[in-house]
Protein backbone atom coordinates (compact mmCIF):
# COMPACT_ATOMS: atom_id res chain seq x y z
CA UNK A 1 0.00 0.00 0.00
CA UNK A 2 1.02 3.59 -0.68
CA UNK A 3 4.03 2.56 -2.74
CA UNK A 4 5.49 5.58 -4.55
CA UNK A 5 8.34 3.88 -6.36
CA UNK A 6 8.74 5.40 -9.81
CA UNK A 7 6.84 8.55 -8.86
CA UNK A 8 8.34 12.03 -8.59
CA UNK A 9 7.20 14.67 -6.14
CA UNK A 10 7.83 18.39 -5.73
CA UNK A 11 7.48 19.71 -2.18
CA UNK A 12 7.55 23.44 -1.49
CA UNK A 13 8.62 24.72 1.89
CA UNK A 14 10.74 21.59 2.32
CA UNK A 15 13.16 23.55 4.51
CA UNK A 16 10.51 23.81 7.20
CA UNK A 17 9.33 21.29 9.77
CA UNK A 18 6.19 20.05 8.08
CA UNK A 19 7.57 20.30 4.54
CA UNK A 20 10.69 18.40 5.53
CA UNK A 21 8.61 15.66 7.11
CA UNK A 22 6.44 15.44 3.99
CA UNK A 23 9.49 15.13 1.76
CA UNK A 24 10.96 12.44 4.01
CA UNK A 25 7.73 10.48 4.04
CA UNK A 26 7.26 10.59 0.26
CA UNK A 27 10.90 9.64 -0.19
CA UNK A 28 10.45 6.83 2.30
CA UNK A 29 7.68 5.38 0.14
CA UNK A 30 10.06 5.34 -2.82
CA UNK A 31 9.38 8.64 -4.56
CA UNK A 32 12.01 10.84 -6.13
CA UNK A 33 11.65 14.19 -4.35
CA UNK A 34 12.32 17.76 -5.42
CA UNK A 35 12.96 19.89 -2.36
CA UNK A 36 11.99 23.51 -2.81
CA UNK A 37 12.31 26.45 -0.48
CA UNK A 38 14.08 29.74 -0.09
CA UNK A 39 16.79 28.62 2.34
CA UNK A 40 19.21 26.38 0.46
CA UNK A 41 21.16 25.39 3.58
CA UNK A 42 18.41 23.27 5.14
CA UNK A 43 17.41 21.94 1.71
CA UNK A 44 20.96 20.78 1.00
CA UNK A 45 21.17 19.20 4.43
CA UNK A 46 17.89 17.34 3.92
CA UNK A 47 18.95 16.18 0.45
CA UNK A 48 22.25 14.93 1.84
CA UNK A 49 20.42 13.09 4.59
CA UNK A 50 17.99 11.47 2.15
CA UNK A 51 20.82 10.46 -0.18
CA UNK A 52 19.69 9.27 -3.59
CA UNK A 53 16.44 10.39 -5.23
CA UNK A 54 16.57 13.92 -3.77
CA UNK A 55 16.99 17.15 -5.72
CA UNK A 56 17.35 20.68 -4.35
CA UNK A 57 15.23 23.20 -6.26
CA UNK A 58 15.44 26.61 -4.57
CA UNK A 59 12.60 29.01 -5.33
CA UNK A 60 11.40 32.30 -3.93
CA UNK A 61 7.61 32.04 -4.11
CA UNK A 62 7.25 35.82 -3.97
CA UNK A 63 8.99 35.99 -7.36
CA UNK A 64 6.43 35.30 -10.12
CA UNK A 65 9.01 34.30 -12.71
CA UNK A 66 10.75 31.96 -10.28
CA UNK A 67 7.41 30.31 -9.48
CA UNK A 68 6.63 29.83 -13.17
CA UNK A 69 10.06 28.29 -13.67
CA UNK A 70 9.84 25.84 -10.77
CA UNK A 71 7.72 23.10 -12.43
CA UNK A 72 10.05 23.17 -15.44
CA UNK A 73 13.09 22.93 -13.18
CA UNK A 74 11.49 20.00 -11.35
CA UNK A 75 10.81 18.17 -14.60
CA UNK A 76 14.33 18.91 -15.82
CA UNK A 77 15.77 17.44 -12.61
CA UNK A 78 13.45 14.46 -12.20
CA UNK A 79 12.26 13.74 -15.75
CA UNK A 80 8.58 14.24 -14.96
CA UNK A 81 6.32 15.39 -12.17
CA UNK A 82 3.61 13.17 -10.71
CA UNK A 83 2.98 14.75 -7.32
CA UNK A 84 2.89 18.40 -6.24
CA UNK A 85 2.73 19.28 -2.56
CA UNK A 86 2.09 22.97 -2.00
CA UNK A 87 3.27 23.26 1.56
CA UNK A 88 5.15 26.55 1.74
CA UNK A 89 3.56 29.45 3.56
CA UNK A 90 4.28 32.54 5.57
CA UNK A 91 2.53 34.47 8.31
CA UNK A 92 2.26 38.22 8.82
CA UNK A 93 -0.03 38.25 11.83
CA UNK A 94 -1.84 41.27 13.17
CA UNK A 95 -5.33 42.56 13.80
CA UNK A 96 -7.08 43.56 10.62
CA UNK A 97 -7.64 47.10 11.89
CA UNK A 98 -3.89 47.53 11.92
CA UNK A 99 -2.98 45.34 8.97
CA UNK A 100 -0.92 47.00 6.25
CA UNK A 101 -1.88 46.23 2.67
CA UNK A 102 1.57 44.74 2.17
CA UNK A 103 1.00 42.22 4.96
CA UNK A 104 -2.23 41.14 3.34
CA UNK A 105 -0.75 41.01 -0.13
CA UNK A 106 2.44 39.16 0.80
CA UNK A 107 0.46 36.41 2.50
CA UNK A 108 -2.02 36.09 -0.36
CA UNK A 109 0.80 36.08 -2.91
CA UNK A 110 2.88 33.42 -1.20
CA UNK A 111 0.12 31.32 0.37
CA UNK A 112 -2.42 31.31 -2.45
CA UNK A 113 -1.32 32.86 -5.73
CA UNK A 114 1.96 30.95 -5.86
CA UNK A 115 0.05 27.71 -5.24
CA UNK A 116 -2.29 28.53 -8.12
CA UNK A 117 0.66 29.18 -10.42
CA UNK A 118 2.33 25.93 -9.41
CA UNK A 119 -0.89 23.96 -9.92
CA UNK A 120 -1.25 25.52 -13.36
CA UNK A 121 2.37 24.81 -14.20
CA UNK A 122 2.24 21.10 -13.38
CA UNK A 123 -1.08 20.28 -15.05
CA UNK A 124 0.15 19.86 -18.60
CA UNK A 125 2.38 16.93 -17.80
CA UNK A 126 -0.18 15.36 -15.49
CA UNK A 127 -2.91 15.66 -18.10
CA UNK A 128 -0.73 13.95 -20.68
CA UNK A 129 0.17 11.23 -18.23
CA UNK A 130 -3.48 10.82 -17.19
CA UNK A 131 -2.20 10.70 -13.61
CA UNK A 132 -1.41 13.36 -11.08
CA UNK A 133 -1.68 14.21 -7.43
CA UNK A 134 -1.84 17.72 -6.03
CA UNK A 135 -1.93 18.19 -2.27
CA UNK A 136 -2.32 21.69 -0.94
CA UNK A 137 -1.53 22.28 2.71
CA UNK A 138 -4.32 24.40 4.13
CA UNK A 139 -4.92 24.96 7.85
CA UNK A 140 -7.59 24.60 10.47
CA UNK A 141 -7.45 28.40 10.56
CA UNK A 142 -8.89 28.47 7.04
CA UNK A 143 -12.03 26.77 8.32
CA UNK A 144 -12.33 28.12 11.85
CA UNK A 145 -10.73 31.55 11.53
CA UNK A 146 -8.25 32.94 14.02
CA UNK A 147 -7.95 36.44 15.42
CA UNK A 148 -4.82 38.12 14.12
CA UNK A 149 -4.72 35.96 11.01
CA UNK A 150 -7.28 37.44 8.61
CA UNK A 151 -4.75 37.31 5.80
CA UNK A 152 -3.50 33.81 6.56
CA UNK A 153 -7.00 32.42 7.11
CA UNK A 154 -8.24 33.98 3.86
CA UNK A 155 -5.40 32.40 1.92
CA UNK A 156 -5.84 29.00 3.57
CA UNK A 157 -9.59 29.02 2.95
CA UNK A 158 -8.85 30.15 -0.59
CA UNK A 159 -6.73 27.05 -1.11
CA UNK A 160 -9.71 24.87 -0.28
CA UNK A 161 -11.89 26.62 -2.89
CA UNK A 162 -9.08 26.47 -5.44
CA UNK A 163 -8.57 22.77 -4.78
CA UNK A 164 -12.24 21.87 -5.08
CA UNK A 165 -12.68 23.78 -8.33
CA UNK A 166 -9.52 22.41 -9.90
CA UNK A 167 -10.43 18.92 -8.70
CA UNK A 168 -13.66 19.15 -10.67
CA UNK A 169 -11.86 20.44 -13.75
CA UNK A 170 -9.28 17.67 -14.02
CA UNK A 171 -10.89 14.65 -12.34
CA UNK A 172 -11.61 13.05 -15.70
CA UNK A 173 -7.88 13.01 -16.44
CA UNK A 174 -6.89 10.95 -13.42
CA UNK A 175 -5.65 13.94 -11.47
CA UNK A 176 -6.76 14.48 -7.88
CA UNK A 177 -6.52 17.74 -5.96
CA UNK A 178 -6.93 17.67 -2.21
CA UNK A 179 -6.02 19.62 0.92
CA UNK A 180 -4.56 18.61 4.22
CA UNK A 181 -5.49 20.98 7.04
CA UNK A 182 -3.18 20.74 10.05
CA UNK A 183 -4.23 21.84 13.51
CA UNK A 184 -1.60 22.61 16.18
CA UNK A 185 1.60 20.95 15.02
CA UNK A 186 4.96 21.00 16.78
CA UNK A 187 7.26 23.09 14.58
CA UNK A 188 9.82 25.85 14.98
CA UNK A 189 6.87 28.24 14.81
CA UNK A 190 5.03 26.70 17.78
CA UNK A 191 8.25 26.17 19.75
CA UNK A 192 8.22 29.92 20.35
CA UNK A 193 5.05 29.62 22.43
CA UNK A 194 5.57 29.45 26.19
CA UNK A 195 4.17 26.64 28.33
CA UNK A 196 1.12 28.64 29.43
CA UNK A 197 0.26 29.48 25.84
CA UNK A 198 0.63 25.84 24.83
CA UNK A 199 -1.51 24.65 27.72
CA UNK A 200 -4.23 27.12 26.75
CA UNK A 201 -4.15 25.90 23.15
CA UNK A 202 -4.36 22.28 24.20
CA UNK A 203 -7.56 22.75 26.19
CA UNK A 204 -9.33 22.80 22.83
CA UNK A 205 -7.65 19.61 21.57
CA UNK A 206 -9.36 16.37 22.68
CA UNK A 207 -6.19 14.44 21.97
CA UNK A 208 -4.46 16.60 24.59
CA UNK A 209 -1.23 17.07 22.70
CA UNK A 210 0.26 18.90 19.74
CA UNK A 211 0.44 17.03 16.46
CA UNK A 212 3.71 15.91 14.91
CA UNK A 213 4.85 16.91 11.44
CA UNK A 214 5.02 13.21 10.57
CA UNK A 215 1.29 12.95 11.19
CA UNK A 216 0.66 15.57 8.53
CA UNK A 217 3.09 13.81 6.21
CA UNK A 218 1.20 10.53 6.58
CA UNK A 219 -1.99 12.17 5.30
CA UNK A 220 -0.07 13.59 2.36
CA UNK A 221 1.40 10.18 1.53
CA UNK A 222 -2.08 8.71 1.45
CA UNK A 223 -3.49 11.43 -0.83
CA UNK A 224 -0.43 11.12 -3.11
CA UNK A 225 -0.82 7.38 -3.47
CA UNK A 226 -2.51 5.34 -6.17
CA UNK A 227 -4.87 4.03 -3.49
CA UNK A 228 -6.42 7.50 -3.02
CA UNK A 229 -7.48 7.73 -6.68
CA UNK A 230 -11.16 8.17 -5.80
CA UNK A 231 -10.59 10.94 -3.24
CA UNK A 232 -10.61 14.41 -4.76
CA UNK A 233 -11.66 17.92 -3.77
CA UNK A 234 -11.45 16.76 -0.18
CA UNK A 235 -9.82 18.34 2.86
CA UNK A 236 -8.29 15.95 5.38
CA UNK A 237 -8.21 17.58 8.81
CA UNK A 238 -5.36 16.40 11.01
CA UNK A 239 -5.95 18.24 14.27
CA UNK A 240 -6.33 15.84 17.18
CA UNK A 241 -10.08 16.35 17.18
CA UNK A 242 -10.00 20.10 17.89
CA UNK A 243 -12.48 20.59 15.06
CA UNK A 244 -14.54 17.67 13.84
CA UNK A 245 -15.81 18.85 10.48
Amino acid sequence: MFDLNGKTALVTGASGGIGGAIARALHGQGAVVGLSGTRTGPLEALAADLGERAHVLPCDLSDKDAVEALPKAAIAAMGRLDILVNNAGITRDGLLMRMADADWQDVLDINLTAQMRLCRGVLRGMMKARWGRIVNISSIVGTRGNPGQCNYAAAKAGLVGLSKSLAAEVASRGITVNCVAPGFITTAMTDKLNDDQKAALLTSVPMGRMGQAEEIAAAVVYLASAEAAYVTGETVHVNGGMAML
Binding site: R124, M127, K128, E169, V170, S172, R173
Partner: protein
Protein backbone atom coordinates in the same frame (compact mmCIF):
# COMPACT_ATOMS: atom_id res chain seq x y z
CA UNK B 1 -5.26 17.10 -48.40
CA UNK B 2 -2.13 18.75 -47.12
CA UNK B 3 0.34 17.05 -44.87
CA UNK B 4 -0.60 19.46 -42.05
CA UNK B 5 -4.29 18.63 -42.40
CA UNK B 6 -3.51 14.91 -42.27
CA UNK B 7 -1.47 15.30 -39.09
CA UNK B 8 -4.10 17.50 -37.44
CA UNK B 9 -6.81 15.00 -38.36
CA UNK B 10 -4.81 12.13 -36.91
CA UNK B 11 -4.50 13.98 -33.57
CA UNK B 12 -8.20 14.83 -33.50
CA UNK B 13 -9.25 11.27 -34.33
CA UNK B 14 -6.95 9.80 -31.71
CA UNK B 15 -7.78 12.28 -29.01
CA UNK B 16 -11.54 12.50 -29.41
CA UNK B 17 -12.05 8.94 -30.55
CA UNK B 18 -14.18 9.95 -33.54
CA UNK B 19 -14.47 8.50 -37.06
CA UNK B 20 -12.10 10.06 -39.54
CA UNK B 21 -14.89 11.02 -41.97
CA UNK B 22 -16.58 13.07 -39.24
CA UNK B 23 -13.56 15.39 -39.13
CA UNK B 24 -14.61 17.71 -41.95
CA UNK B 25 -13.47 21.25 -42.66
CA UNK B 26 -16.27 22.86 -40.67
CA UNK B 27 -16.56 20.25 -37.93
CA UNK B 28 -16.67 21.99 -34.56
CA UNK B 29 -14.64 20.22 -31.90
CA UNK B 30 -17.24 20.89 -29.25
CA UNK B 31 -20.54 20.88 -31.17
CA UNK B 32 -19.82 18.15 -33.73
CA UNK B 33 -17.02 16.03 -32.35
CA UNK B 34 -18.04 15.77 -28.71
CA UNK B 35 -15.09 17.58 -27.17
CA UNK B 36 -15.42 19.21 -23.76
CA UNK B 37 -13.53 22.35 -22.79
CA UNK B 38 -10.65 20.35 -21.34
CA UNK B 39 -10.41 18.34 -24.58
CA UNK B 40 -9.93 21.56 -26.53
CA UNK B 41 -7.09 22.56 -24.20
CA UNK B 42 -5.49 19.16 -24.73
CA UNK B 43 -5.92 19.35 -28.51
CA UNK B 44 -4.10 22.68 -28.54
CA UNK B 45 -1.34 21.16 -26.40
CA UNK B 46 -1.08 18.27 -28.85
CA UNK B 47 -0.93 20.62 -31.85
CA UNK B 48 1.81 22.64 -30.16
CA UNK B 49 3.86 19.52 -29.65
CA UNK B 50 3.26 17.96 -33.06
CA UNK B 51 4.18 21.12 -34.94
CA UNK B 52 6.67 22.70 -32.53
CA UNK B 53 4.72 25.93 -32.29
CA UNK B 54 3.30 28.06 -29.50
CA UNK B 55 -0.42 28.73 -29.62
CA UNK B 56 -1.23 31.65 -27.28
CA UNK B 57 -4.45 31.46 -25.28
CA UNK B 58 -6.22 34.19 -27.23
CA UNK B 59 -5.43 32.40 -30.49
CA UNK B 60 -6.45 29.06 -29.04
CA UNK B 61 -9.90 30.45 -28.36
CA UNK B 62 -10.40 31.15 -32.06
CA UNK B 63 -9.66 27.54 -33.01
CA UNK B 64 -13.15 26.10 -32.95
CA UNK B 65 -13.20 23.80 -35.95
CA UNK B 66 -10.88 21.39 -37.71
CA UNK B 67 -10.52 23.95 -40.51
CA UNK B 68 -9.59 26.67 -37.99
CA UNK B 69 -6.85 24.46 -36.61
CA UNK B 70 -5.39 23.61 -40.01
CA UNK B 71 -5.44 27.25 -41.06
CA UNK B 72 -3.82 28.49 -37.85
CA UNK B 73 -1.09 25.88 -37.96
CA UNK B 74 -0.46 26.40 -41.69
CA UNK B 75 -0.01 30.12 -41.05
CA UNK B 76 2.16 29.56 -37.97
CA UNK B 77 4.40 26.78 -39.25
Amino acid sequence: MSDIADRVKKIVVEHLGVEEDKVSENASFIDDLGADSLDTVELVMAFEEEFGIEIPDDAAETIQTFGDAVKFITDAA
